[in-house]
């Protein structure tokens, strides 16, 4: 059996696509300022290392699709998230050997991780709607 080409034995076939602007901005602010997060994302045994072997492989139990009943998941089909630290996740999508990296986002900034605080979100949405109404009727 012939040996595989050298580049196939060394390089991962995975291609990484990074959202222009957002990926770099969130990486600089949330990953580079946090050594544990950086190691968990791109260090040995981290998210990138796991996906390098197999883009479909899960990086821990938190690596999953956004809830299918959410409107966001309908807008962006196939989008996933995985915990990098307990309160920071990478948001991404996999298509074949292509990994689309959107950026790094925190949990619970608005208490969204807790069902009780969904009301807070709704209240903020209502407030937002009212603000829009007031702006439109001004003048």
């Amino acid at each position: 059996m012939p040996n595989p080409p050298v580049n196939q034995s060394v390089q991962s076939p995975v291609k990484l696509w990074r959202a222009a602007g957002m990926f770099q901005d969130t990486k600089e602010n949330r990953i580079w300022r946090n050594a544990a997060a950086r190691n968990s994302f791109s260090g040995p045994g981290g998210f990138m290392d796991t996906k390098r072997q197999n883009p479909q492989a899960s990086y821990g139990s938190s690596d999953k699709l956004f809830k299918s009943n959410g409107k966001f998941a309908v807008r962006v089909p196939g989008i996933k998230h995985a915990h990098i630290t307990h309160d920071l996740s990478v948001v991404y999508k996999v298509e074949g050997n292509n990994i689309y990296l959107y950026g790094f986002f925190t949990h619970d900034e608005l208490g969204t991780g807790q069902p009780a605080n969904i009301r807070k979100q709704d209240a903020m949405a209502t407030r937002f709607s009212n603000t829009e109404f007031l702006e439109e009727t001004k003048g």
Binding site: R18, T112, D122, F128
Partner: protein, 71 residues
Amino acid sequence: MKITEIQKPSDRKLFEEFSQGNDSGFSAKDLVEIAKADMQDKWLTPVTYEQYIAEDEADYQAWLAEQEQNS
């Protein structure tokens, strides 16, 4: 970004849409930004894992040096 900073009507519509029963674990404003990035479909030149690691390390070291200079 604060809610009052979401100016475009299309962004507001998305914000309201994602806020309704949001149990994703992420804030609606972040979901808006992610959805917008997906719709814009603008990506940096794709890289291999090895290229990413090399570039990230070089950029990170440069960033660290800059941080030290500024401190």
